[in-house]
Each structure stands twice: as structure tokens, then as C-alpha cells.
């Protein structure tokens, strides 16, 4: 069996999530990667270097400069007959693209798989991770998005794979790109960070997130938030960790002023070590925390900053 992985990238670098997706793909068969973009040769070379990848297919054209679903799905479809499984990471790009492809192929997609039983059978979380379903697909071809925190990142291999160019498909006139407005980050991105410090409703305001940022700067951590903090307007939605935000699994997750609603736990409970700082000793977050500190966060977080500086 040969497996195609659609690579999510920004024309400069292969995103971290692809490495985990390649691990999942390797469990199913031989792995080919599709890199579609503009001036994306460097990304193709990065993909070719990953262990387990036997071929990289590159479609380098201005029409693929931005990952528009209307433009990219016909391209993936044009090479789909060579593959038994088509995978993408569960990033916003993967989630936007793959269901459109699945419908074009008349396939019922499997979203966000967290485990592989055999080539037809997969595990995936449902109900915000409160249940794990094992589902068997009866479709001849599988279209799958991968929960990247459930698989280790693939390593760099010894021999780079071949890079092969393919011809582009007819451009779509349905959608056009206007602009992106990326949050300027001096810190690592949430889904790539080894350490995350997140704030909840207990932070009381957006300005107060500065105390978390100070700790984050010392630890090289990313800053996240619960949905309650986003809904209260403290921080923007791209900070959100949880069922409807980002799914993360860092080495250390520090939850500050977060009560621990199931929807938040869904996004972070696979973290290696969880710390909770909350003044309510009955907060559900303490039931999943390895280390709990019952304290006023406005006192404890500056103390934490001082202690870490020692």
C-alpha cells in the first residue's frame, strides 16, 4: 500500500505537525508526500529528508501560493488513484481541505484519528475526548486527518527521497486570497511548544496575561488560554486550547486560573506533566493535575517567575 500525505507548510518550512502525520502514515505503508505551493522547493527537500518518506511530489506554481481548498483539492484528486490512504495533519489547513477531497472521491472521511488498528480500522476521540470510538471504514480508499499529538514525530532519515514534479490542474475561479494577519509571536507556536502556560477566566483581564508572558519568557513557553478567557475577550481565539481550539500535548502544561471544563481538558490532557494553579481547591483541573497549587494566581505567578529566575 502507498500512502499520500498532504504537507501543510508556509512555502518556507514544513510545519511540525507533518512529522507526526508521517509517523502515522508509515504505520500503514510506503509514504509519499505532496508539497504544493509557490517557491516551495526548500519544503520539498525538508520532506524528502524525513525517515520513511520514499517520494516527494512537488507542484510549484503561483496558484498554490496559499492553501485554497478550491484550488488544491483537484490537484490531490488528480493523483489520488495511486494511493490507498490520503492523510493530512489536523491543522486548520488539513481540516479545511480533506473533507472537500473526500466528498469528491465519495469517501466518508475519518477525522482526527488518534490510533491505527489496521488499514481499515482507526481510533478517534468523540465528544471532546470523553469517549474513544473504534471505527472501521468500508470505503475502498481512506481519507484521514491525524491528531498529531497522538503520534511521535518522524526522525530525519539517512538517504533523502526523490523529488518529482507534477503538472498543475486547472485553476479555480471560485475563491481568491486577500490577506493573512498572523499574530506576531516571539514565543513558540502552541502546537509546537514543549512548555505551555495558559490562563482562564481567573485572569480577569487581557492585561493580566502579562504575568503569564513573563513566566513564558523564562521557560521558552507558549501562552494559551481557555475558551472562557477567549469568550471574555481577554485574548484572541488563536490562543484557545480545547475541543474547539488547539489540541496540545507539551512536556509541561501550566493551567492558571482555569477551572478545568471538559472542553478545555479535551485539548491538553495528554500533556506529560500538568500543573494547576487555582484558588478554588475543588476546581476539576486538580483531578488531572500532577502538581496542584491552591493559591491566588496574582500572588503565585509572580512568585513562580521569581523562583524560576533563581
Amino acid at each position: 500500500m502507498t500512502i499520500l500525505v498532504y504537507a501543510d507548510h508556509d512555502n518556507n518550512d514544513l510545519k511540525g505537525a507533518n512529522y507526526n502525520t508521517i509517523t502515522a502514515a508509515s504505520l500503514l505503508g510506503e509514504v509519499h508526500i505532496l508539497v504544493a505551493g509557490e517557491n516551495c522547493r526548500h519544503v520539498a527537500e525538508q520532506a524528502a529528508a524525513v525517515d520513511g518518506v520514499t517520494k516527494v511530489i512537488i507542484a510549484d506554481n503561483p496558484q498554490y501560493a496559499h492553501p485554497l481548498a478550491e484550488m488544491l483539492t483537484p490537484l490531490i484528486q488528480s493523483i489520488s488513484e495511486n494511493y490507498s490512504h490520503i492523510l493530512a495533519p489536523s491543522t486548520t489547513v488539513g481540516k479545511n481541505l480533506l473533507p472537500r477531497l473526500a466528498a469528491l472521491l465519495d469517501v466518508q472521511q475519518l477525522s482526527d484519528i488518534s490510533g491505527i488498528i489496521d488499514s481499515d480500522t482507526f481510533e478517534r476521540p468523540i465528544y471532546a475526548g470523553n469517549a474513544i470510538a473504534t471505527v472501521k471504514s468500508t470505503d475502498a480508499k481512506k481519507v484521514i486527518t491525524v491528531r498529531t499529538t497522538a503520534f511521535d514525530a518522524a526522525a530525519i532519515g539517512s538517504v533523502p527521497a526523490d523529488i518529482q514534479e507534477i503538472s498543475v490542474t486547472e485553476p479555480s475561479i471560485l475563491s481568491t486570497f486577500i490577506d493573512t494577519e498572523l499574530t506576531q509571536l516571539d514565543r513558540p507556536e502552541l502546537t509546537a511548544a514543549k512548555v505551555i502556560i495558559s490562563g482562564g477566566r481567573g485572569m480577569q483581564s487581557g492585561e493580566n496575561f502579562i504575568i503569564l508572558e513573563k513566566v513564558a519568557n523564562i521557560l521558552g513557553a507558549a501562552v494559551g488560554a481557555s475558551r472562557a478567557a477567549v469568550d471574555s475577550g481577554f485574548v484572541s481565539n488563536d490562543y484557545q486550547v480545547g475541543q474547539t481550539g488547539k489540541i496540545v500535548a507539551p512536556d509541561l502544561y501550566i493551567a492558571v486560573g482555569i477551572s478545568g471544563a471538559i472542553q478545555h481538558l479535551a485539548g491538553m490532557k495528554d500533556s506529560k506533566v500538568i500543573v494547576a494553579i487555582n484558588k478554588d481547591e475543588d476546581a476539576p483541573i486538580f483531578q488531572v493535575a500532577d502538581y496542584g497549587l491552591v493559591a491566588d494566581l496574582f500572588k503565585a505567578v509572580p512568585e513562580l517567575e521569581a523562583e524560576l529566575k533563581k
Binding site: H66, P99, S175, D179, L308
Partner: protein, 250 residues
């Protein structure tokens, strides 16, 4: 413009979901059901377009057992004009929902269709994108802002790391993200008025769609439980433990 919104009846956001003892699924008997939260945002957006005079008609569609009519009533009480109910006793997979929606859309010819970005029961996040593919329409998923101009809509989307704005040719499919709007509560007079609004009933057979499932659920289990750890007395002890016991900070 004519607008269609899709609404799904799901286990209420606040209910702690329990796995059935025979591992066939989750317990749904005697559990509070509500409209999927992202679908409430879809309805609200449609109602606002209606109030602003951008839309002249707003239709709410739901699929499922008889009780799905209650979810349509909620959409009508929020301000939709009429409902369409595709009666089907069993769960429908996203591809089938997309095919049924496509059949309805071919009849109704709306200018825009708004759906939630995901349902909080199966967390698939597929239907909107699949529907766009089946119709050959543009898709604006995870939308946090819409701006209509002539035959186009500019959609600001929530993407990893920030926002992206794209321009779509109408008709188009939109799926909602959290920040698009804050849905209203239906007022009592509007709930009363909604009882008189029409709901048309149809079925997969009437619409000519084969809804045979493609996925077989082998089992549903509870996730591995995480053990609660220890409480520490102060920040000093916390940092000592993180450094020397967990070894996650230098």
C-alpha cells in the same frame, strides 16, 4: 438573498457524556439535548442578515428523528422563516448529510448556506466542506467575519496562528467559528410565534439519497483516566518538584 442554515440536535454542551456499559456508544436516554453551539452561531448570522435586509428569506434545515423538529423550532424562534426536516431515525454520517443538504439546495437555490464548523458530538468538522465539494461551490470555513459585496463574500477565517481573509464567489458555503457573533436567546413571544411557522417534512428516500453508512463503529470506550497527582504547599515546592522530580524544567 436567500439563506439556508443547518442545525443539529446534539447532547447539551454542559452534560457530562457517559459511555454505555456495552461499549456500543454513549448514553443518550434521558439526557438533555440542545442545538449544536456552532449551529446557533450559524442561525444568529442568518437572522442578522435578515434583520439587516441582506437576506429576504432564512430557512433552517435539520436531519434526524422526530425530536429534531424541536431544534428547528429553536431556529424558528431565533428568527428563521421556515424549516425543513429530513426525517431519519438513525445517525447520519457527514457525507450523507452533505448529500441530503445538496439535494435540498438544488430545489431551494439559496445564495448562501451557513453551517457550524463542527458538531460537538462526533467532532468531525466535515459537512460544510463536503457540501461545497458536491455543489462545486466555494467554501469559507471557520469564519469569524463576513462581508458581502455584489456577487462576492469576503470571509475572515480563524487559522493556526491568526486570521486569513479570502474572497468567495457566491453562492458559497460558510462554516462558523466562535467569534462570528454571540447568539441570542429566543424571547417568549418569538417562541410562541415560532409554533405557527411551517416545517416541511421530507426523507432521504424523497430526496433520492442513499444513506447507507460507510463506517462501522466497532466499539466506544472511555479514555484512559489521568491520575490526580499531589497538592504542593507553595511555589518553592512546586518549582523544586518540577526541577528534580518531573525534570521538565532546567
Amino acid at each position: 438573498m436567500k439563506v439556508i442554515v443547518a442545525v443539529k440536535r446534539v447532547i447539551d454542551y454542559n452534560v457530562k457524556v457517559r459511555v454505555k456499559s456495552d461499549n456500543s456508544g454513549v448514553e443518550t436516554a434521558n439526557v438533555k439535548m440542545s442545538m449544536n453551539p456552532f449551529d446557533e452561531i450559524a442561525v444568529e448570522e442568518g437572522v442578522r442578515m435578515r434583520e439587516a435586509g441582506v437576506a429576504r428569506e432564512l430557512i433552517a434545515v435539520s436531519m434526524g428523528p422526530q425530536q429534531s423538529k424541536e431544534t428547528i423550532r429553536t431556529a424558528l424562534a431565533m428568527g428563521s422563516d421556515r424549516g425543513i426536516h429530513v426525517l431519519h431515525p438513525d445517525a447520519l454520517e457527514p457525507l450523507m448529510v452533505a448529500k441530503l443538504m445538496a439535494a435540498i439546495i438544488c430545489k431551494e437555490a439559496p445564495d448562501i448556506v451557513i453551517l457550524g464548523k463542527q458538531a460537538i458530538d462526533d467532532d468531525s468538522s466535515q459537512t460544510g466542506q463536503m457540501l461545497a465539494a458536491l455543489l462545486g461551490w466555494a467554501q469559507g470555513t471557520f469564519a469569524s467575519k463576513l462581508y458581502f459585496e455584489d456577487e462576492f463574500v469576503a470571509v475572515t477565517r480563524e487559522i493556526d496562528g491568526g486570521l486569513e481573509t479570502i474572497k468567495l464567489k457566491l453562492p458559497a458555503i460558510i462554516t462558523t467559528d466562535l467569534r462570528l457573533n454571540t447568539p441570542r436567546y429566543a424571547s417568549l413571544p418569538n417562541i410562541m410565534k415560532a409554533k405557527k411557522k411551517p416545517i416541511e417534512e421530507t426523507s432521504p428516500g424523497d430526496l433520492g439519497v442513499d444513506v447507507t453508512p460507510r463506517l462501522i463503529t466497532v466499539k466506544v470506550v472511555e479514555p484512559a483516566k489521568r491520575q490526580a497527582g499531589v497538592k504542593v504547599e507553595n511555589v518553592e515546592e512546586l518549582v523544586e518538584k518540577l526541577r528534580n522530580e518531573a525534570k521538565v524544567i532546567p
